[in-house]
Symmetry: C2
Subunit: 223 residues, 2 copies
């Protein structure tokens, strides 16, 4: 039984490390995609794509690890909730990677057009990236207070997205030569907002994993 | 053992039915949200919200059912893959519901503005909705051929989204009074594209569930 216990702990630890590797790659992809835009550096696209390949491989590998852990160890209670959370966090991370690729692709297109004020995009990118980092820290440490803090920050990201939208629509209305570029910036701000949403999903999964209580859809839990 | 087997079958059947109920609610939400826009009928918002409440309750209930099934029956092979697929399909359906709410909210806003040609939005809605329906049918029947067909149709939805984008940007550039409305239509077409993406995710989960083979990220499987 002691050996059995050690085996599941090793598997859970392997799962945790694979998710953190994937999360770190996603953070880097967000950073690279926005840097591509801010620094007019199209060569960063290759790095984004290389990270995407690694994220996609990890996506499949982590799902396999989750199924293997369930099949071999039949975990219960917190261990079971950990694996269920891992299945969902894995999906969220993969989609964060997709959003970062979308940002990089739109940015590549923007580089061919005259430059334009970026509004709140750098701030949105920083906020979304920090939410992701903290959600994964909360996952590693089982830190409900930090997870709740991530969930709260999502409102600020939504506010920045709306502000960006309003500013850019006004600009497009006053100068129709900015419509194409304005649209592209709005799409990037939506991608960043979706990344923050996925980070929020991860944080909600952490709260459920630790407390065994579902806080989604208004069932709030104080840390 | 015979009794045990019957118990897990009952639980899996309950899970399947709950997911189908949730899927039917999502289909209805897409239908109502687009009808609200097409028929200028703001009163449909109440129905969208009522369905959203039910979807959110099912979202929590299905996650609980999945964990209970894993803990009580320790399923293996196809049964285990079924539960893992259910966890992921549950997330995708909940997000489809969110996208339908976004469409309804943007449409409500559009109703206050002068009407505008809708481009490919009705067709995009029909396609996304049918993809969702077929993905869930494929899930119920374990039908890999149908799931692969859903996955193929996602390209058409992407094409319609790009076409809508280009048409509307051209319109906005030629008549700046259409910018606000054009933006709203573009956002709705993005919501529909995301719904089709989620339906594609469901279809990929079905293929994995049935074949035990991961077809995501380029590992295609012929039906």
């Amino acid at each position: 039984m002691a050996t059995m216990k050690r085996h599941i702990d090793e598997d859970l630890q392997g799962l945790r490390e694979a998710l953190l590797t994937m999360g770190a790659l996603c953070e880097e992809m967000i950073h690279l995609a926005v840097k591509l835009l801010l620094e007019n550096d199209a060569t960063l696209m290759t790095k984004v794509q290389a990270s995407e390949d690694r994220v996609n491989k990890l996506h499949i590998e982590i799902d396999e690890r989750c199924l293997r852990t369930l099949a071999l160890h039949q975990p219960a209670a917190i261990d079971l909730r950990f694996v269920a959370a891992a299945i969902k966090i894995n999906s969220d991370l993969e989609r964060i990677g997709d959003q970062a690729v979308n940002i990089a692709e739109t940015s590549l297109y923007l580089l061919k057009q005259p430059p334009m004020r970026l509004g709140d995009i750098p701030r949105m990118a920083e906020l979304a990236s920090q939410m992701l980092k903290d959600a994964l820290d909360a996952f590693t440490r089982g830190d409900v207070a930090l997870a709740n803090d991530v969930i709260r920050r999502d409102d600020e990201e939504d506010r920045l997205k709306s502000q960006t939208f309003n500013t850019l629509v006004a600009l497009m209305q006053s100068d129709s030569s900015t419509i194409q570029r304005g649209m592209d910036h709005i799409l990037i701000s939506r991608n960043l907002e979706r990344i923050a949403d996925h980070a929020t999903n991860v944080a909600e999964d952490v709260v459920f994993m630790v407390l065994g209580k579902d806080i989604r859809h208004g069932g709030g839990v104080e840390a």
